[in-house]
Assembly symmetry: C2
């Protein structure tokens, strides 16, 4: 089980010494940031070097400006550990942390300088799954999820108004209790979630349930952070869409329900005015697509406009 | 399973609206940082508010300055998730991450403005355990750990030279293979680790094994970060000490072995010149404390000076 310094480690060490790395025996709060950044000097990947350097400078500046104590530092270690331990195949607490600190939305916003007229992107969120069931045009993706019926009628177009046929559209949302299917431990099938394709005219119709506002999971470290900092955990009602079509940028977005009380204080900072739409209420009777509805229902019409791949990369 | 907005959530929401929080529907990369910071306005704990505000500002500045892409962001999420999943009762990868990015040492340095003449602190590291075996004065804490014998003779004093009797001293270190006992999965007992007490003159003697330089664990996410960024994973040879005595600040430090090739490039930035000491080599014969040694051995003499609690808090 004995180990000795590898030739590679010794070469790196010699390289360090050759560059005059000899003042590392008197680390203080004033020279440590440069010392750490200097250690990335041999990083073979320039992009990784840039990211690590910028990360270390800001991480250290945060610790210095806040005068973090050792007890606070240890609390931070415990927080990250708990965040890691609650994360599993069905729950991603680090994404939730990033979402609630606005980092996810910042990343989305700075990577999607939308050409005028195209639909804005928003956060992906932690509830998407890749193996959702496929539905035919007009299908009922609710699949038994509780909620008032919602009939959705959308089109997917390109920037010049051209229909985008055969686009692959992932749809996912919470039910009337405010839960996604993956949050029900006893549930083995997918509900209020599906993958569909636009028709030759770029049109897509399906039945689902009316989404409601819901709190993000509050039984973990992120929930404790929200409570401790006096923040509410609610997201305004929305339906998630991911739209993929060859030649166009993949669009990951939501459609939010107008009138929701949380539109101005979404806990994950995902709302954009252009993504808020009327979910129109109707009394029981004949619903869209000619189907009888014996209870009240809503309809949502929304048109998506994708950015073309070439155009978007020029605009970035 | 139905949930509705709690009275507390509704009150927070009203408070937000009353303060004119109405521009949150058009989140962009330019206004999101202020939007997130504004969300902590109701934080009941001023210290938590300060920390979260500073954290969000630096985290966002890092993402913006580095122009983090969505793929890079997701890689970061995966990195943190893997760091959480490899962390357990015996392994703390988040502390290792903090150590290798210099955050641990920065925190130590800015919280221990040592009064002149007192011993400097350094990083705690991830290998301390609270339930180490107790040893009497002169005991052999190696407890079978492989290595050349090392006889340690220390004193613990206060700033005026007064002996500190009955101080509780935790000692822990790697063996000649460069491993701590907790890194041997098959090992159920503690080796090269113990808790001792100073005598009436503040003196403490014990036998252990000569520490060697060792690499931090490289089979996890932190190891991958070190390799990818061209850094070696080595720490110079050292023995850890934690010294606790009523009326004095607890001292957490190392004694490093002079001549070690990694003193100038410690992967966790823990070296301070004042903590480097001679580990003196001796041929086989009569060792310290009058014990016969049939093999070569080393001795280490080192004097610790603790800061007095009142004095240290004035100096901080």
């Amino acid at each position: 089980m004995s180990r000795s310094s590898s030739p590679r480690a010794r070469a790196l060490l010699r390289a360090s010494h050759d560059r005059g790395f000899t003042a590392m025996r008197n680390i203080t709060e004033h020279n440590i940031t440069d010392a750490v950044v200097g250690r990335f000097e041999n990083c073979p990947d320039p992009r990784l070097k840039e990211i690590l350097t910028t990360l270390v400078r800001h991480l250290h500046a945060f610790v210095k400006e806040s005068r973090i104590t050792e007890a606070e530092w240890l609390e931070g270690i415990h927080f990250l550990t708990a965040t890691g331990h609650i994360t599993d195949a069905k729950r991603q607490e680090f994404i939730l942390l990033s979402d609630t600190l606005g980092v996810s939305m910042l990343t989305v916003a700075q990577n999607h300088a939308q050409p005028p007229g195209t639909t804005e992107a928003t956060v992906f969120g932690p509830f998407h799954v890749e193996d959702a069931p496929r539905y035919a045009q007009g299908g009922d993706i609710a699949n038994g999820a509780p909620g008032e019926p919602l009939f959705v009628d959308t089109t997917v177009r390109g920037p010049d108004g051209e229909p985008v046929p055969n686009a692959v559209v992932d749809v996912w949302q919470a039910d009337e209790a405010g839960f996604y299917d993956v949050q029900y431990r006893e549930l083995s099938e997918h509900r209020a979630r599906g993958v569909l394709r636009t028709d030759a005219e770029g049109r897509l119709r399906f039945r689902t349930v009316l989404p409601v506002a819901y709190p993000v999971p509050t039984d973990g470290p992120v929930g404790r952070m929200l409570v401790a900092s006096g923040r509410h955990p609610w997201r305004p009602a929305h339906v998630h869409f991911r739209i993929q079509a060859p030649g166009y940028h993949t669009l990951i977005t939501h459609v939010f329900r107008a009138g929701d009380p949380y539109l101005d204080s979404d806990v994950v900072f995902g709302v954009r005015a252009s993504l808020v739409a009327d979910f129109v209420a109707h009394g029981a009777g004949t619903g869209p697509h000619g189907r009888e509805s014996d209870r009240d229902y809503h309809t949502l019409d929304f048109d998506f406009v994708l950015a073309r791949e070439a155009i978007a990369s020029t605009a970035d």
